[in-house]
């Protein structure tokens, strides 16, 4: 059984298609692994044992029927998957790891998840996250933290920490995450797996419970680049229900998996390697650059600019949008409502004060303040202008380079409890990831080494909008030279 869980999603899918393993066997192996390991890492908020097995049985029938007719299904048909708990799945508890949505069962499925279902995947459960995706450690979850499979005293990163940890722990071969300021790439880096934040507009946001609407993107988390490419090929679609969905989103990203980067121009921002960057991280990332160079890429350093302004601009914009997006949680239509209240406004205040955790409240307060009368221009509008400058800096860089290479985070996974006490320090950990969301770019995080403690180091590759194929190709080429260590758990 455990061998099944060592397979990548595409490997497992091909064995299922070939009839070597059934979807039920794969699903049970996944459920068993969750049963064995999740006590330790707590990657899941909800595990749907019954529903998953029933679905796997149906998939086995469909796969057999397709085989008899000589039809090919998606390479992921029958493969188990975990879904971050901020994506609606009809009839399945969807909490955003918050008390305020602790009992919320959506009546519709998000488009991204539906695309995966249409491709034949089996949903085994919903993964833990920072409450409403606000955090970089998965410690702000109302249901308690997730732990890093490589070291249970460390955080898995966040906010998609449950998804990244579940893949790293071989509980599932693949998972969906969402990335608003690094929430796929950073936990992928901390957990030694691969994750993609697609171009804004590539994957529908319909059914994703919004944090920062102009920044949020759903993306794949898996063991390697090929799995991510296979998942992205399913996820990417034009969705008429999402006004910000790109018309020509659909594509086959498997085409990009060429282990060759000859002639590819790769730029390394000098400003990504300054103060605050951990030595081990720096060494691994620069070694990866050397590898790509040896594979034929033209690699050079350059000054990107604006790097230090990305975090302040990001936190103003993300918190402002969040303060508005989270207004709907008021105890009227769904979710938690306080037990006792004197009138309407008292009901609102008590419900929200009791229902939201400290970090969420902190961001709602900040967001409400920067939008309030007298401060809007000084903070919010200024942040939007800076966003424009950041976008311009990237546009300029991409005139010269196909791919930008750098670290994902300044450090590897921190010890639990280390960063929560000092919010600004925690926010600074997002320095290499947030600008990508502001500019709407695609980015991939893939393992490139291990630090002195054996904790994984991630390599980040960024592309111009809708150039996912370039970063996939570079990541795939690098990966072909790199041996990933699994977490011993």
């Amino acid at each position: 059984m455990s061998d099944i869980m060592k397979l990548t999603a595409v490997e497992l899918g091909s064995k299922i298609a070939a009839g070597e393993i059934s979807s039920v066997e794969a699903t049970k192996a996944s459920l068993d692994a969750i049963g064995n390991k999740d006590k330790k890492i707590h990657a899941f908020v909800t595990v749907d044992t019954e529903g998953a097995i029933k679905r796997a049985e149906e998939m086995d029938k469909l796969i057999a029927a397709a085989k008899a007719e000589g039809k090919t299904l998606s390479p992921l048909a029958g493969v188990p998957i975990a879904i971050k708990d901020n994506m609606n799945v009809s009839g399945m508890l969807t909490t955003c790891s918050s008390k305020i949505l602790g009992n919320f069962v959506p009546t519709f499925t998000s488009t991204a998840v539906q695309n995966m279902i249409d491709a034949g995947v089996v949903i085994v459960g919903k993964t833990n996250m920072d409450e409403f995706a606000m955090g970089s450690t998965t410690e702000t979850s109302y249901f308690g933290p997730t732990y890093n499979p490589y070291d249970l005293t460390r955080v898995p990163g966040g906010s998609s920490g449950g998804s990244a940890a579940s893949v790293a722990a071989d509980e599932v071969p693949m998972a969906l995450g969402s990335d608003t300021g690094g929430s796929i790439r950073q936990p992928a880096s901390f957990c030694g797996v691969t994750g993609i934040k697609p171009t804004y507009g590539r994957v529908s946001r319909y059914g994703l419970i919004a944090y920062g609407s102009s920044l949020d993107q759903i993306g794949p988390i898996a063991k390697d680049t090929r799995d991510c490419a296979a998942m992205l090929s399913v996820l990417a679609s034009h969705d008429p229900k999402d006004s910000t969905s790109y018309e020509k989103s659909a594509d086959n990203f498997m085409d990009a998996l060429i282990p060759d980067v000859k002639g590819m121009k790769i730029g390394i921002p000098r400003d990504y390697f300054g103060e605050g960057l951990d030595e081990d991280v720096k060494t691994s990332v620069l070694a990866a650059a050397e590898t790509l160079k040896s594979l034929g890429a033209e690699v050079e350093e350059f000054d990107l600019g604006m790097v230090e302004y990305a975090i302040p601009a990001y936190y103003i914009i993300a918190c402002a949008e969040a303060s508005s997006n989270l207004e709907r949680f008021d105890g009227v239509k769904y979710g938690y409502r306080t037990a006792e209240f004197t009138d309407l406004h008292n009901m609102y205040k008590k419900t929200r004060s009791e229902g939201f955790g400290a970090e969420v409240k902190r961001r709602i307060m900040l967001g409400s303040f920067v939008l309030s009368s007298g401060y809007y221009d000084a903070y919010y509008v200024k942040a939007l202008r800076v966003k424009n400058l950041i976008k311009q800096a990237f546009d300029k860089a991409f005139e010269k380079y196909d791919v930008i290479l750098g670290p994902v985070a300044p450090t590897t996974a921190l010890k639990c409890g280390e960063s929560l006490s000092d919010p600004i320090k925690m926010y600074l950990g997002d320095i290499y990831t947030v600008s990508v969301n502001l500019a709407g770019l695609p980015g991939i995080s893939t393992p490139c080494g291990y630090d002195k403690n054996g904790m994984p180091v991630g390599l980040q590759l960024l592309g111009q909008v809708f150039e996912e194929k370039k970063i996939l190709r570079a990541a795939y080429a690098f990966e072909s030279t790199f041996t990933r260590k699994s977490a011993e758990i």
Binding site: T107, S324, R328, V332, Y334, L371
Partner: protein, 478 residues
């Protein structure tokens, strides 16, 4: 101390557009559904739902803007207006603040023969709120989201009006224009048109504005006039007493005839507007504007000229009929169907107006089609039914859907030609039963025939044409 005040009024007018679906989702805008049956994840603010703009809303908003001489904003956006209230499911309303779809328009009004322009500051698109139902018997209210997300345009005027008469003239002009465009039925009593009155006073001759109040919940022209008079009195009393007018929103209670402040300290009125990231910018092209212009209907002024030239109707009748687009439509369509403009106009000016007045019906509630009116006129003209029956049938038709007069006359046996044999027998019976009248008639008193005709009409219960009966009697007696 005698001060003379000038009243300064600006209006915010909300108009519900009559699209089939809501502004951001595919839910029906139809009235009358059970609570919450016209709802979906989008218009109930479910987590994860996203808005997508209804094309018709944009087109209708632009059409209203063009008809009110506005500049159309070529790069327009939606913003979120954040405030907590249970009828507002997301606790923000999607509206437009920074780049409204139309700006800088004007409409001409006429009061007591004097013409002036009222300038329009802007027109923006937004979503309507749901409905709160209050239970008298307990401590709860109920939210019904059927109206949540119904498209609105908000037309914001400059403070250009100086009297209640001007306000009503302006609203009538807007209503007429929007009704002619077919963008809304603009009913104040049903809330498809809602006017909030911003009013302040200043000393005559002063250039500066006084502190204004905003009065909401005005459901008729009468209420608007009454509330304006009331607010002028309230503000001038305050000023004369040396007190300050507080800038606030007030709610008009039409039954009690006064207004009171609406907000509590929990309403900061700081809406934290910012561009809605879920919706994309709207670029209005020349082609869009040209095609909307090409679809512009014939407006009232043009219609008036044509009715004079083509139909040669009296000026008063033309004014009355064109005041209601619905009536003008019936006239135009009836003529197209072969009806005589003067006869149709007579029915509109006579029976229609009378019945509307008697039942306080709005013209937009008229149910009969031009087709049926033309049929009715033909039935009457050909003596198939007499005038009294025609009026009776019409009274039924005005207030019910699709009543076909031909069918109705046949079904209810109202035709004068229902049974020629029966009529002949009754005429004979009438002659036998009225020997005195027959005698008088034969003696040259032609008028005496009336008694016989009356007998026949009574026996036939009106299902005959008096002219025909008269002829039949004459042909027997002469």
């Amino acid at each position: 101390m005698s001060k003379e005040f000038e009243v300064v009024i600006g209006l915010e007018v909300h108009v519900e557009l009559n699209t089939k679906t809501k502004i951001f989702c595919g839910c029906s805008t139809a009235f009358g559904g059970a609570p919450n049956t016209h709802t979906c994840p989008v218009c109930t603010g479910m987590p994860g739902s996203l808005p997508v703009l209804n094309k018709e809303v944009l087109h209708k908003a632009i059409a209203v803007g063009l008809a009110t001489n506005c500049n159309i904003t070529r790069n327009s956006k939606f913003d979120r207006k954040n405030y907590f209230y249970p009828d507002n499911p997301q606790n923000y309303q999607i509206s437009q603040l920074y780049y409204p779809i139309c700006r800088d328009g004007k409409v001409e009004i006429e009061v007591n023969g004097e013409k002036k322009f009222v300038r329009i500051h802007e027109i923006h698109m937004e979503e309507d709120a749901g409905k709160l139902v209050h239970d008298e018997w307990n401590e709860n209210s109920y939210v019904d989201f059927n109206r949540s997300g119904v498209p609105l345009i908000e037309i914001v005027s400059e403070p250009d009006m100086r009297s209640a008469d001007e306000v009503i003239a302006y609203l009538s002009k807007l209503r007429e224009t929007i009704q002619y465009l077919g963008a809304s039925d603009c009913k104040l009593n049903e809330g498809s048109m809602r006017a909030d009155v911003n009013l302040s006073l200043r000393e005559k001759g002063s250039e500066e504005f006084g502190t204004r109040t905003e009065t909401k919940n005005l459901n008729s022209f009468t209420a608007i006039r009454h509330s304006i008079e009331n607010e002028i009195a309230r503000q001038s009393d305050l000023i004369l007493a040396g007190e300050k007018v507080v800038q606030e929103t007030r709610r008009w209670d039409d039954v009690k005839g006064y207004s009171y402040p609406m907000r509590s300290k929990e309403d900061a009125q700081d809406y934290r507007y910012f561009p809605d990231p879920d919706l994309v910018p709207i670029i209005v092209t020349d082609e869009m504007i040209d095609s909307i212009k090409a679809e512009e209907p014939e407006f009232r002024a043009e219609k008036k000229i044509r009715y004079k030239e083509e139909y040669d109707l009296p000026d008063y009748d033309i004014d009355q009929i064109t005041a209601e687009k619905k009536m003008a439509d019936i006239l135009d369509e009836g003529v197209k169907l072969g009806g005589d403009p003067k006869k149709i106009s007579n029915w509109l000016m006579g029976e229609t107006m009378r019945l509307m007045k008697e039942t306080s019906t709005d013209a937009t509630d008229l149910k009969f089609s031009a087709d049926n009116l033309v049929k009715l006129i033909k039935l009457n003209e050909s003596k198939e039914i007499n005038n009294a029956v025609a009026k009776e049938v019409f009274e039924k038709a005005v207030f019910s859907d699709n009543l076909d007069p031909e069918k109705y006359v046949a079904d209810n046996g109202l035709s004068t030609k229902a049974d020629a044999g029966e009529l002949e027998a009754v005429v004979k019976k009438a002659i036998d039963a009225n020997p005195k009248a027959v005698e008088d008639y034969k003696a040259g008193k032609k008028k005496a025939v009336g008694a016989i005709v009356g007998f026949v009409m009574k026996e036939m219960k009106g299902k005959c044409d008096p002219g025909t009966v008269n002829q039949m009697i004459s042909s027997i007696l002469d």
